[in-house]
Subunit: 559 residues, 2 copies
C-alpha cells in the first residue's frame, strides 16, 4: 500500500496554514500559508467608507475559501503527493469566531445586499463589542439561578457565541432575521468543504454553553434575555453536536475543485486551534497539562469526571478528546507582557548593546535575566497587565510591580514579569489539583517555548513540574491532520481514534526542563508572597485597581 | 557709607561655593566654585592602596581649606569689592560630616602619622558604615527607656554623630584616643577661620541628640553604649552650643591670608546647608514649610512649641531660627527616582524623539506627562525606591507601581512617580498638622523647582497648598551670607537678627503654583488609595517588602 497522507488546515487570526503529513508517523511533508487579503477588519468594512465602532473585529468569509484555494493546491504541488493518497482533511479555527448564514450555507456577507452591513460579516474571536450583552447575560443567568455558569468559572465572556448573536439582534434585527443559521466559522468552513452543516463539541461546549449531558440552556433562559431569542437554538443552531474526530462528510465536487483533492475525501468535524493541539503534543490522557504559550497562555488538561474548578474558562465533555472531560483555563497576558516591556521600558543603552552583539533585544534580556538567581532581584509582580482570566475572571484587574530600588535593572523587571506569569500558572495548576484534576507534568507549546529557555526553566521551577516540548512547531495544523486521519478511519489507512493517531503521529523532544530543587525552595517563598498579594488585590480586600480603572474611564470620558 | 557685603560659603558633597552679596538687598555680586580635589573618597584613601570597606564615604579636610583659599580671593577679584567692606562671613555644610581633631584644631588626617588611617579622615554625611552602631544605639536607648528618640521620629540614623564616633572607637580605638576633639566639619571650618572652637545648635540638635532644654544624653547612656564613651561629651565635644547667627569670633590672620579678607572680619557660628536655606527663602516664621527638592526632599517648618511628630527627622529649638522650634522631615528618593527611571526605563524611541526635538529626555517626559490629566493613567506608586524616611522611618521598604496595563506609556509611569513623591510629601504635611504644626503654604527650593514646573503643579494640587519659589538659585550660600551679616551686626552695617536679614535680603519670585480645584478633587481620591497602600505595606499588615529584601540579601550573600 502506498503511503497515506492527511491534511490539516489551521485558520489563525491573520492567515491560514495547510500542512500535509504522513499518516504513518506524522512527518511533515509540505506546508503553505495564505495571509487573509482582508485580514482583521477593525476600522472600515472592505471597499466601503463604513467605519466600525471601537472594539469591533470582523473577518471576511471569502478569505477562508481563499485559504482552501491557495494553500491546499500548493502543498499538493510541493509534495508531489497524489490526491488519492490524501485520506482525510480536518481544520482548526480561532473561536468563538461566528457568522450568520443562509440555509444553503451562503454567508450573509457573501450576498451583495448584506455586503455593507457590518453585522453580516464574521465576528472574529477578539470582537469585544458585545460586552453589554455579555454583562446582561451573566446578570440574568445569576438572577434566575442557572448553574451552567459554574462550568465557565462563573462568567460568560463577551467573546463567546450568544453575546455576539445577541448583539446582532440588538443592533441589526433585520440581519438577525435574515440569518437562517448562526454558526462558528470552523463549522461553516467544514460545511463549505463537505456540504454538511455540523456543530463540533469543542466550540459548542467552550463557547456556546452546550454540554453533552445538559445540552444548551433552556429556551426560557434565552427568552429571558430577549423574547425574540426564545427559540434561537432550534431556529438558528442545531441540537446535534458531534465529538471531535468524527467524520462530518466527504469533500464536495466544488471543494475538490478548489483544493485539488479528490471528491469524497473524508472531512472531519471542525476543531479549535488550542484544543486540537493537545493530542498533537502527545497528550490524550489525564495528568499532563498542555499550555499553549503565546501572547496569552491557554491551559488544557483532561479528566475523567466533570469538576467545577473555580475560575477556569470551561469544562466540556468531548471538548478536547472524545470520551474525556476537557478542562481549559487561561492567562490573558504572557507574551504580550514581555512585548509591552520591550516596547516601553527598555533603555536605549540596551538596544545598542543588543545591536552590537547582533542579538534581538528579547534575547539580550533573557541572557541578562538568566544570570540572576531566583529571589536575587527582590522584585515581585502580579501578571495582570491585561486583567486576570483564571482563576479570578476579572478583566478590571491591573498590573503590579513591587520591590524596586534605585539599583533595580531592566533585566530584573523582565525576569520578575516572567516569574509573575509562572506564579499565575501555578495558581491555575494548584486550583485544578485542589478540585480533583491532576496535573503531574506540563507540555508546553506555542511561540514562547522555542524562543525562551529561561522562561521554560522558570515555569518548571515555579510549578515544580517537569516541562516537555512537542517536536512539531506547527502544532495546530498537525493536530488537525491527525483528526483528518481519524475521520478517514483505519480501513482507509488512518486511525480509529485520536489516541491511536497521537501515539503514532505526535512526538516530544528529548529536551526536558526539570525543576531545580534549590530554585523551587526560593520560588515557594516568593509564590506564597504572590498568593497573598493576588488575594489581597484580587479577592476584594482592596479593590484599588478597579477604582483606579473606573476613575481613569471617567476622566477619559469627560475629556 | 559705602555699600557693605557679606560672604557665604556653601560646602557641598562635591565642591564648595563662595557667594558675595550686597547686605542691603541680598543682590548677588560674585560667585566662585571649587571642586574638592579628593572629592568623595569611597574606594581608596588618597595616594595609598588602602581600600575602603563598602558603605564608607570620606573627605579630605584640606579640601575645605582649599575652598577658602580658592573661592574667596576669586569673588573678591571678580567683584572688585574692598575686603574692608566685607563685614561678615558664614558657612554652611553637609551634615553630619564629622572628623577627629587635636586640641589645637589640627585634623588628625592632616598629621602624617594618621594619614593612612581611614578613621582619621572626615566621615562624610553619606558614610553608612556605622549602621551596626546605630542599631545598637537605638536598641539600648529603647531598652533603657530614653525618650530623646521621640524627637527624631523614633530612630537615630547611622549617618549621625554618635554612631560615627562609636565606629571610630569600635574599629580604631587608638585613633579615638588620639582625638582630643570630635567635631562637625562645619564647626571645624569655623574653628579654622576664627580660631574659636564652637558648636552650632543646628548640627548639635539634628545630628548629635542635643536639645536646648535637655542638653546631650546623660553620661550613663554613653556608658551603656561603651564604658569608654561615658565622658565623650566632656572629653571630646562641648556642652556649650550656640544659636545660629551668633558671632563665633573674628577672622584670624592666617585665615585672612588664605582668603584675602581682613583680619577681624566677623565669623558666624556654622550652619547646615538645608537649614541655612530657610531664611534665604523668606521663611522665618511658623506656617510656611520649606522643601529642598533635589535627589531627596528635605522638609523644614518652624513652630513655637516642641511637638513630637511621628516619623520626623528631628525637632530642635534654635535649630533653624533662633527662638523657634525647627522641625525637619524627609523623603529619601525624589530626583533620584526620576533619574533611575530615565536611566533604566525610557525606551530608545523616546531618546530619539528627544534628540530630534533638541530637548533633554527629562523635558520630553515632562511635556508628555503634562498632557495627561490627574487620574488618567490609572497608575499609583509608592515612592519607596530608596526606603521611606518620613513618616515611616524604614530603610527596608521598597518601591511599588500599581495599575499598569498593556496600554501604559513611559510618561504615565514617570508622572505616577512624581505623583507618588507628592503623596509622600502630603503625608508629611498632614502628619505635622495632625500634631499641631501648621503648614499653610510651601516654599520650594533646590534643583527641581527650576527644572520641572509639572512637578511643582502636581505638588500644589496634591498637597492643596500654594507653592512659592525663592528668587535665588544659590540658596545655601545666600543663607550663609545672611548669617554673616547677622554675625557682623547692625552697627557694622549688617543686621541684628536673621528675621531682619531675611526681610531685606531674601525674595520670592512672582511665579506661584496654586492648587487647581478640579485636580485636587481627583488627587484626594488617589491620595486616599495611596494612604491605604502606604499603611498596608508600611505599617506591618504585609511586610512582603522586607521579606523580599531579606531574601535578596541572603541569596547575594550565598553567591
Amino acid at each position: 500500500m502506498s503511503p497515506k497522507y492527511a491534511l490539516g488546515i489551521d485558520f489563525g487570526t491573520e492567515s491560514g496554514r495547510a500542512l500535509l503529513v504522513d499518516v504513518a508517523d506524522g512527518s511533515e511533508i509540505a506546508t503553505s500559508v495564505y495571509n487573509y487579503s482582508n485580514g482583521v477588519i477593525d476600522e472600515f468594512l472592505p471597499d466601503t467608507d463604513i467605519r466600525l465602532e471601537p472594539d469591533w473585529a470582523l473577518q471576511d468569509p471569502d478569505d477562508y475559501i481563499r485559504v482552501l484555494q491557495q494553500t491546499v493546491p500548493a502543498v499538493l504541488a510541493e509534495s508531489g503527493v497524489a490526491p488519492a493518497d490524501v485520506i482525510g482533511v480536518s481544520i482548526d479555527f480561532t473561536a468563538c469566531t461566528m457568522l450568520p448564514a443562509k440555509a444553503d450555507g451562503t454567508a450573509l456577507a457573501q450576498l451583495p445586499e448584506f455586503r455593507n452591513r457590518p453585522h453580516a460579516w464574521v465576528k472574529l474571536w477578539k470582537h469585544h463589542a458585545a460586552q453589554p450583552e455579555a454583562n446582561r447575560l451573566n446578570e440574568i443567568a445569576n438572577e434566575l439561578g442557572y448553574t451552567f455558569l459554574n462550568r465557565y468559572g462563573g462568567k460568560i465572556s463577551s467573546e463567546w457565541f450568544f453575546p455576539k448573536a445577541w448583539q446582532i439582534l440588538d443592533e441589526a434585527p433585520d440581519v438577525y432575521a435574515a440569518a437562517d443559521r448562526l454558526i462558528e466559522g470552523a463549522d461553516w468552513v467544514v460545511w463549505q468543504l463537505s456540504g454538511e452543516e455540523t456543530r463540533n463539541s469543542c466550540t459548542a461546549g467552550y463557547k456556546a454553553i452546550w454540554s453533552k449531558r445538559e445540552g444548551f440552556p433552556a429556551d426560557e433562559f434565552f427568552k429571558a434575555l430577549d423574547p425574540r431569542m426564545e427559540h434561537i437554538v432550534d431556529e438558528k443552531l442545531s441540537r446535534t453536536v458531534q465529538p471531535l474526530g468524527t467524520k462530518a462528510g466527504e469533500l464536495t465536487k466544488e471543494a475538490a475543485h478548489w483544493t485539488g483533492l479528490k471528491p469524497g475525501t473524508a472531512v472531519a468535524i471542525a476543531n479549535v486551534d488550542a484544543h486540537v493541539s493537545v493530542p498533537a503534543t502527545t497528550v490524550t490522557e489525564p495528568g499532563r497539562m498542555v499550555i499553549i504559550m503565546g501572547t496569552s497562555n491557554c491551559h488544557m488538561v483532561l479528566g475523567t469526571e466533570e469538576r467545577l474548578v473555580p475560575g477556569m474558562c470551561g469544562v466540556v465533555e468531548d471538548g478536547i478528546i472524545a470520551g474525556l472531560q476537557g478542562f481549559e483555563a487561561g492567562q490573558s497576558c504572557v507574551g504580550d507582557h514581555f512585548a509591552w516591556f520591550v516596547n516601553n521600558c527598555v533603555p536605549a543603552a540596551y538596544e545598542q548593546e543588543a545591536q552590537e552583539h547582533g542579538v534581538a533585544i528579547h534575547q539580550l534580556l533573557e541572557e541578562k535575566a538568566a544570570r540572576l538567581q531566583p529571589g536575587e532581584s527582590g522584585l515581585l509582580a502580579l501578571d495582570w497587565w491585561n486583567g486576570n482570566r483564571s482563576v479570578l475572571v476579572d478583566v478590571d484587574l491591573t498590573g503590579l510591580l513591587l520591590g524596586a530600588t534605585l539599583a533595580t535593572k531592566p533585566e530584573e523587571i523582565y525576569r520578575a514579569l516572567i516569574e509573575a506569569t509562572a506564579y499565575g500558572t501555578r495558581i491555575i495548576v494548584e486550583t485544578f489539583e485542589e478540585n480533583g484534576v491532576a496535573v503531574d507534568e506540563i507540555v508546553a507549546t506555542g511561540g514562547l517555548p522555542d524562543r525562551n529557555k529561561l522562561l521554560m526553566q522558570i515555569y518548571a521551577d515555579v510549578t515544580g513540574r517537569s516541562i516537555y516540548i512537542p517536536e512539531s512547531s506547527q502544532i495546530g495544523a498537525l493536530g488537525s491532520a491527525m483528526h483528518g486521519a481519524v475521520a478517514a478511519g483505519a480501513e482507509a489507512g488512518g486511525y480509529d481514534s485520536i489516541v491511536q493517531a497521537s501515539r503514532k503521529m505526535a512526538r516530544l523532544r528529548d529536551e526536558v526542563f526539570h525543576p531545580i530543587p534549590e530554585h523551587q525552595a526560593v520560588y515557594d517563598q516568593l509564590y506564597a508572597e504572590y498568593v497573598t498579594l493576588h488575594d489581597y488585590f484580587g479577592r476584594g480586600a482592596n479593590d484599588v485597581m478597579k477604582r483606579l480603572k473606573a476613575l481613569k474611564a471617567e476622566i477619559r470620558a469627560s475629556e
